[in-house]
Amino acid sequence: MRFDSFEQMLAHLAETGPDAPALRYDDKTLSFSELKHAVDARAAMLRAERKTSLGLLCDGSLDSVIELFAANLAGLQLVMLDASLDTDTLRTLIRYTDVDTLWGEEDLKEDLELALMGGVKNGAGRILFFTSGTTEQAKAVVLTDHSLCQSAWNGSAKLPLTPDDRLLCLLPLSHVFGFVCGLLWGLSCGACVSLGRGARHYLDDCDFYRPTAVSVVPMLLGFLLQQKCVNPELRLILVGAGDCAPELLRAATDLGLHVSFGYGLTETSSGVAISVQGDPYAMEVCPDDTITLADDGEILIQAPTCMMQGYYKRPDATRAVLRDGVLHTGDLGCFDEDGRLHITGRKKDMLVLSDGTKIFLPEYESALMQTLEHMELAVVLKGGRPALIYCGSGDASAVMEKLRPLMRRQPRGKQIAEVVFTDEPLPRTQTGKIKRWELQQKVMESA
């Protein structure tokens, strides 16, 4: 069902299926009426506190879900923060988004309190997600409960769940794919959402919750299959937020699982195209969205109900990608004869890892150049992991040793896994830009 707001969604579900299970975390279950009651009670408390911008240090627990709905109902701007980030980065993000109150683990909150700001005016309904959460150039995408509800409907129109389904939410709610496809997709269909108990339970959450559907990033899908964590009741796997290797999809379908692949961006409140049947890479455009291709194959999206309001306090960055209601994605694609979208590559200087992490290459390579005092280098993906292409000769372990302090500050997935030396110069355009596809192709051919 299509909802206009979280408030409407929770009220409707509590009315139509008050005793049906809504959320499960570990051995605790909340029915839809209990969820609504808990959210209403907490919203009343938040209203009394008169704060305006809540930074939610998401841990995926029941209380964190209650808090996010309550903050929205109470008219606060909600900032979705990844609690696993280091405290310096979190402080930067808190200052940037004018957060004046925090929810999360007490110790972490204490560490971050000095970064709290004065709050915002007119922040009601806004929900901020970060596209790249780890640098001073991080951008917060301004979405709303309305756009997120529309996105959940848009996806479920293509891939519906029923109240008998059990959706397992393994992905962080600070990521829009996790939020929409791990939480809202299930709730808006009246299904029970089981909240994953953190990375340490990746091995046993399927066995514990017995889900019928799960949303994953490719790396997590690989892990679940490799470790044989798939329960017999599981019928549907939605894969998104990264490129998925064909052998991985094959392994899942061989188990009799229906695998759908989704394409979307934080800027469009998650998915705009989903594969429904047949070729998992051939995606049907969701009902509210229009996708066209620019002359160079760049995917252009019109998503009137789900589009971001813009990047928070970054009007220039917003104008660079969103013009006349059309989002210039930087991704390349094509349509097949049935009008289904296929993703073919990326135009922008960015790598997307199989865990959904993005690496903005100019910035990352600049840090590598400074550390190594060597200008002719580039980063590509090799075996799904970042590899450093180093023009010249040298000793890989010496390069790694030099990089060690820089790598220690990087999230695990972004760390350079291999150094590849080459005698050839980097392939470049006439204007000096690295021809990344050519370089990537060479690396793949030599592997």
Binding site: R200, F223, M400, R412
Partner: protein
């Protein structure tokens, strides 16, 4: 249990999870993520197995701070002591 025993058992878990690494020398300074073929999910697997083996719990927020084999051993040993 001594720290040396924790180190040896930790190596054993890593080799069990990733038999291909048996030819590779793992030292306390080995950076698990970029000096071995272990990716971030592989790291999760290792930590889960180690937590079960030693009956300890390392908070997830600290996992990303564990870069070298020595860091992992320290985190476990500290919780055993």
């Amino acid at each position: 249990m001594s720290r040396e025993e924790v180190l040896e058992k930790t190596k054993g878990v890593i080799f069990d999870c990733f038999p291909d690494l048996k030819d590779q020398e793992l030292t306390e300074d080995t950076v698990i993520n970029n000096e071995t073929a272990i990716d971030s999910m592989g790291f999760v697997l290792i930590i889960c197995k180690l937590e079960a083996l030693f009956d300890v719990r390392i908070p997830e927020r600290q996992w990303k701070k564990l870069q070298t084999l020595g860091d992992v051993v320290d985190a476990i040993y500290k919780r055993l002591a």
